[in-house]
Symmetry: C2
Subunit: 113 residues, 2 copies
DNA sequence: TTCCTATATTCGTATATCCGGATTTATGGA
DNA sequence: TCCATAAATCCGGATATACGAATATAGGAA
C-alpha cells in the first residue's frame, strides 16, 4: 500500500491563470487543441522559438497538470489533461478558442511521427 | 468629432490571465462578485493588506478593463465591467466561483457608504 | 559499444512583478 | 481658507519569471 505517483497538488485558480498568462504557453495549447495529441518537434517547428524555450514551457504546463506527456520511442507527445476538473477544462476551452483567433494559430494535424 | 475617451486596447487572453493570475486580484474579484458594486474601504478592511497594495491591484484591474470605477464623494466604488466580451465574462464568472471556494471569500454586502 | 536524433535540464542574465512605507491628490466640511 | 479622510501614486528593494546557449539524458540503430 504505497503511492504509485506523487499526489498532485490540486489545481488552484491562480495557478491555472499564471500558466495561461504567457503567450508562448497559450500558443502551445492552441496548437494542440483540447482533444489532440501533438509531437514536440511539430510544436518547435510551428512556433519559431528555440527548442529549449518550448521544452521549458511544456514542462511548466505539465507541472501545473494542464497537459500530460506520452513517450513514443524518442518522441514525446503532449495533450491536454482530460482529467482536469470541469471548471478548468471549460475555462481552457473558452480561452483557447479565443486565443486561436487572436493569435491566428490553428490546431496542428499530426504530421511528424 | 473627437474621441471622448482613449480607445481601449482590446482585451487579450494572456492579458486577462495575467490579471487573474494573482491571488490578491482574484480575491478582490471574489469580494465584489460579478454584479455588485463595492467600496474600496470595504475591500481594504476585508483583505488585511495595506491600502496601497489594494489600490495598486485595483488600478491594474482597471487598466485591463476588468473593472470600472465610480466616484461618489471621496469614496470609490468598483464593479466588474459588464461591457467585457462574452468569453471574458464567462471566464471570470467561472473562475471567481471556483476561487471563492478555494479562498473562502464571500461577496461583500454593501456596508460602509 | 558508438553514434545520432529528440527532448530535457542547467546556467547566467535580463526583465517583470510584487511589496509596503511615504507622499500626493481629490473631495467635502468647518 | 484650512483640516480631515479616502484613494492613488511614487519609490526602492526583494523576488519571480523568461530567455537562449550550452550541456545532459534517453532511446534507437548500426
Amino acid at each position: 500500500m504505497h503511492a504509485v505517483q506523487a499526489a498532485p497538488t490540486p489545481l488552484s485558480v491562480a495557478g491555472l491563470c499564471k500558466c495561461l498568462g504567457d503567450e508562448s504557453r497559450l500558443s502551445l495549447l492552441c496548437l494542440m487543441g483540447v482533444d489532440r495529441e501533438v509531437c514536440v518537434c511539430d510544436l518547435v517547428a510551428a512556433l519559431d522559438a528555440p527548442q529549449s524555450t518550448i521544452s521549458r514551457h511544456l514542462a511548466q504546463l505539465r507541472q501545473c497538470g494542464l497537459v500530460v506527456a506520452r513517450r513514443q520511442a524518442t518522441w514525446m507527445h503532449y495533450r491536454v489533461n482530460d482529467a482536469l476538473p470541469e471548471w478548468a477544462l471549460t475555462t481552457i476551452e473558452t480561452l483557447v478558442n479565443e486565443a486561436r483567433e487572436q493569435l491566428g494559430l490553428q490546431p496542428l494535424q499530426g504530421q511528424c511521427c
